[in-house]
Amino acid sequence: MRQLFHVTPSGWAGLGTAAFGILILPSLSNSYWLSVFTSMGCFLLAIAGVAFMYARLGMVSLTQVGLMGVGGWIALRLNHAFDFPFEVNLALAATATMIFGWILALPALRMRGLYLALVTLMAAGGLEIIFATFQFPNGGAGFWGVQTGSGAAFRRPWIAQSAQAYLRYVIACALLGFLCIELHRRLQPGRAWALIRRSEAAAMAAGVNVTLYKTWAFGIAGLLGGAAGALLAGSLGLLDDGTFRASESVMIFALAVVGGAHSWQGALVAAALYKVLPAVLNIWGVDANLSFVIFGAGLLHAVITAPQGIAGQLLDGLRRLSPKREARDA
């Protein structure tokens, strides 16, 4: 409680990375890399959501990209229906997706482990079908708002009209997302989640309302996914249903495990693998499907040797280099 605002070494590193991303990265990037890093930032936020559910509660959610789609759909819908500024659309999309996450939690909470994963995967499949059938609003008439031909414009935040400024904006939002998770972790919900992961019976015996806190976790994953989808909509101006297939949700989860679900570094590694690696292969003129082979190898590597993911291994390596830090962390 007294340590609510205490910044750990890892926290400083995270703030430093965000500062680099906001202050320096945009000016180093050409338009190709600006768009790659922007969508990486959006997926980083979404990955933070799945990684959080897995690390804090051991829950496997395979709907995260579907939730991004929900957030993106709502943001586009609001943009083309009303004159709200971007921030309002973003906030409403994130909130609505959070509520969607709660609804998803209702059937999912009765399940554990593999069954929970299957239920969330079914939800992702359902969303995939809905997105493929109705497409994303682009300024057309009616509830679904789809018109053929070129779509209407999407209003970006007034402080982030340019591609560079928008990258900064997305990174700042991702940072807020990580801070939101960390704040929860240090407060009552974090303690409740830690005990729930240890044993649900022990949590109940300690007066923890297990259903409430699990639902809450689904809501946070939804909030982050929804915000990520709205930001992605802002980046591209329109959304394509191919982005939000159920298989992408599975991929995101697998990469979160490969990267390391327990740390922000892991989420960053996962987002980089998901977005930067294919972009690099693309520049080299290599078939981007090679990235799937690399993901697969990474997953095997993680399952066999690195339960804390690649980030965990890197951090262990760093710790071995500086024995003093280990003593301080203990």
């Binding site: 409740a192 240890r198 019976a201 300690a206 309302n209």
Partner: protein, 237 residues
């Protein structure tokens, strides 16, 4: 005061508890019985993890069975498990704080209470230690502190001295004796260690194959020939 009336529990064909009635009104009470006698099942009925086929339970005159498990904790029920349940990634302090997180009292008074109870169990100097770094005995002491915060009314221990050295077990026994004085809560202890039960419990219930075979002052109960036959008999096999 804890009243258990006519509680029956079945798991498929196994009758784990058979119409057990007992009224605990002493500060510290024991439950003993051979393996599989139904001791843990009785505790699970009290904490709400097992729903009995029939029966009533009331604590201080309030019916407990209709309450969800976490509501019983809010009511004042505390329990420790056969295997202590301390979260590895929380500190000792946080592990205890979880128990009163739901209460609306100000943060400062919660902190003070957690610190007081950690001092009582002798863990005050290790409040910032992370759960994963604790020894078995330290985990058990943290568990006890967790049972003491938030005005408990009934504290239950399931084989608290399991796997402990004679010395640790004695220390734990002394600590359990202090609970009633420090918090006003009634205490219920399950253990196979008859010496522990003899030294700390006023009244003791003996279960065998899910039935109550004796109840009363601990010394009398332990001298009861039926108890010797059922309990000590299997113990020596």
């Amino acid at each position: 005061m804890l009243e258990i009336e006519d509680v029956t529990v079945r798991f498929g064909g196994v009758v784990a508890l058979s119409a057990v009635s007992v009224r605990f009104d002493k500060p510290v009470n024991g439950i003993i019985g051979p393996n599989g006698a139904g001791k843990t099942t009785l505790m699970n009925v009290l904490s709400g993890f097992v729903r009995p086929a029939s029966g009533r339970v009331s604590g201080d005159g309030e019916a407990l069975l209709p309450l969800a498990p976490h509501r019983r904790a809010h009511w004042g029920l505390r329990r420790s498990f056969q295997k202590e349940e301390i979260a590895d990634d929380l500190t000792v302090f946080e592990n205890v704080l979880v128990q009163i997180d739901h209460s609306r009292s100000p943060a400062r008074s919660k902190t003070a209470e957690v610190e007081a109870m950690l001092a009582l169990v002798g863990m005050a100097d290790r409040a910032g230690k992370i759960g994963a770094a604790l020894s078995g005995f330290e985990r058990r002491l943290t568990d006890v502190a967790k049972c003491l915060v938030g005005r408990p009314r009934l504290v239950m221990f399931d084989e608290p001295a399991g796997g402990m050295s004679v010395d640790e077990s004695r220390q734990l026994g002394a600590l359990i004796r202090q609970i009633h004085g420090a918090t006003g809560a009634q205490v219920l202890v399950i253990d196979h260690d008859v010496e522990l039960i003899r030294t700390i419990c006023e009244d003791t219930l003996v279960l065998d194959f899910g039935r109550r075979i004796a109840f009363g002052p601990t010394a009398e109960v332990l001298d009861d020939p039926r108890v010797k036959a059922a309990y000590l008999g299997t113990e020596e096999v």
